[in-house]
Symmetry: C2
Subunit: 349 residues, 2 copies
């Protein structure tokens, strides 16, 4: 089994730097587009055989060192009782937005097998089909980022409804976050039981906070989930399942983030990895952080950036190569293939 990714997560010595790509199963691959022509996005997420198929595509095509479950961070939110649609021009739409006690009370903490059994089924199929070629990463949105979609009713520019709730109705916000946190914790446990060998928490919008607000309104819920997962794994003698915590626009927040107890910190491209490693502490394992747009560079330009990132990452305890955000839809697939080869080759394979 290729366990280079899991070893790197644990900070152990590895023969080369493992690499996977956020959104590696996606629109930039014609093989993915072929599947999507048959079903819409939500149906794809909810059809285990198809979700497993597109999850495996980048393992075959790119040669990455990990597979990541094909799904969406809003799947558990729909299971809580919100209506979810994906509209091409607007992105995800959740209705009705959660902005008062009534709309909060209508939401439940779902049983993950009962309400999102298709996710666990996808994971079980994947473990069988991957046959230990590479480890499988499960994932969830982190509580704060999940909450922004629920409060705004979708994506947002200023996140003003979210911040208004936090600043004017902190008890309502806390009650919502408590419900989300319980949902996500159960959801991640179910993924691990089904076979996920690592999990990533996406806090894409965590960077909209000042450091103090991030520490108060986003971080404790992440810390809570990680600590609950660790205790649960220990009580079952289930071994170590690494947790990766990714925050968008981490620049000002690294000193806060390092207390959450994650095994790996996902870093966006706006900060140099050596700077990030120094601020996180020398025992941190980092994941990242090529600008997704850099995959539009000519080949030698990409190589220069890969060398730079590998060099800077050498000051961290461990490194998993990735982009700083999801791969962009128009990205030339041959450049992604070349990127994976470069990372492997230049880091020592």
């Amino acid at each position: 089994m290729n366990d280079v990714f899991l070893k790197a997560c644990r900070g152990e010595a590895v023969p080369y730097t493992p690499v996977w790509i956020m959104r590696q199963a996606g629109r930039y691959l014609q093989q993915y587009q072929a599947v999507r022509r048959k079903v819409d996005f939500l149906t794809l997420c909810k059809t285990p055989e198809l979700a497993a198929e597109v999850t495996i595509q980048p393992v075959d095509i790119l040669g990455v060192d990990a597979a990541i479950l094909f799904s969406d961070i809003l799947i558990p939110v729909e299971a809580m009782g919100m209506e979810l649609e994906f509209i091409d021009s607007r992105g995800p739409v959740l209705s009705p937005p959660v902005r008062d006690e009534d709309s909060l009370n209508r939401l439940s903490v779902p049983d993950p097998e009962e309400k999102t059994g298709f996710v666990m089924q996808t994971i079980r199929i994947l473990r069988k089909e991957l046959q230990d070629r590479v480890p499988l990463i499960g994932f969830s949105g982190a509580p704060f980022t999940t909450a922004t979609y629920m409060i705004e009713g979708g994506t947002s520019k200023n996140f003003l409804n979210t911040k208004k709730m936090i600043f004017r109705s902190p008890e309502l916000y806390a009650a919502l976050m408590e419900k989300i946190t319980r949902t996500i914790t159960a959801y991640l446990k179910a993924q691990i039981e089904a076979g996920a060998q690592a999990v990533q928490l996406f806090d894409t919008w965590g960077g909209i906070f000042s450091p103090a607000d991030f520490r108060e309104y986003a971080l404790p819920y992440v810390t809570g989930i990680i600590s609950e997962l660790r205790g649960w794994l220990e009580s079952r003698n289930a071994g170590h399942v690494p947790v990766i915590y990714y925050v968008g626009e981490t620049g000002g927040l690294l000193e806060e983030i390092r207390s959450c107890g994650a095994d790996v910190y996902g870093i966006d491209w706006r900060i140099n990895l050596d700077d990030a490693a120094r601020r996180l502490g020398s025992d941190a394992v980092v994941q990242g952080n090529l600008d997704p747009a850099a995959l539009f560079l000519p080949r030698h330009g990409i190589e220069g950036r890969v060398r730079d990132i590998l060099g800077r990452a050498s000051s961290a305890r461990g490194h998993i190569f990735n982009l700083g955000h999801g791969v962009l839809p128009e990205t030339p697939p041959e450049n992604v293939i070349a990127l994976v080869e470069m990372v492997h080759h230049l880091s020592g394979e």
Copy 2:
């Protein structure tokens, strides 16, 4: 004359911390809305008497320590030869987008008095009407942020067209930036000649870059403008006109930014000011950095944040209080008035 703002820009001792608010003339004020009911946004920018009127409103209503010219960063772009419209649901639209040599060649470096004389006229009216009550700040978009609007044709999410041009046609990008930089330099000189007593360069989108790309593709043009302005002022014995450089999402970029030679660095709310001051260097004057959404807090919540920011700013050579980004449309004006009072009161007036 209230010269506390100008003294703080120069790092001199001040009796209290001066404060102004980005977008202080704007939709959150009913007095502004009253003017806007008569004319559309672009007409307002181009009618010196009205632009002067809304510029002065926040000086009267809020008691801020500086006025800032009411205008838009795309005004000089329209003068270069692009068509500019403001569409309510989409924001600014510039056409046709600049993506090849042809569209670049159609653009000129305009004479600022000839093509944007209404801006200089607004400044001359303002200096007369302000009667030295407070200094007047002129402004422009920084070259990179200006370029993103020209290349994307408006606002953007991923700035992919911009990055594609930079990564695939660096000569085209350099030629565009050269034209923009010459335009902005002449535009700022004209503003200073008309009476602007300080100028701010807005690089709102500078934070979309990795540190190395920011250093290569955004910063040199800013450094060039500042150095050109300094030489020009010196050759005319025109005294010192402070330059403020504001970059959105500065977190990972501060070590780069500090070389540009600005008098003051505008900092967004995503990083603590003491951290920013340390990374910029102890001789830096900082401006910022309250989260605009914090103006929706109850009064005591705002006060706590003001105290925190003033405390952190004490480690910088000087401090001008401001928000970390523009004031939001729905902000309660009474909270903005209270904010200005708090800053003055708590910092020593």
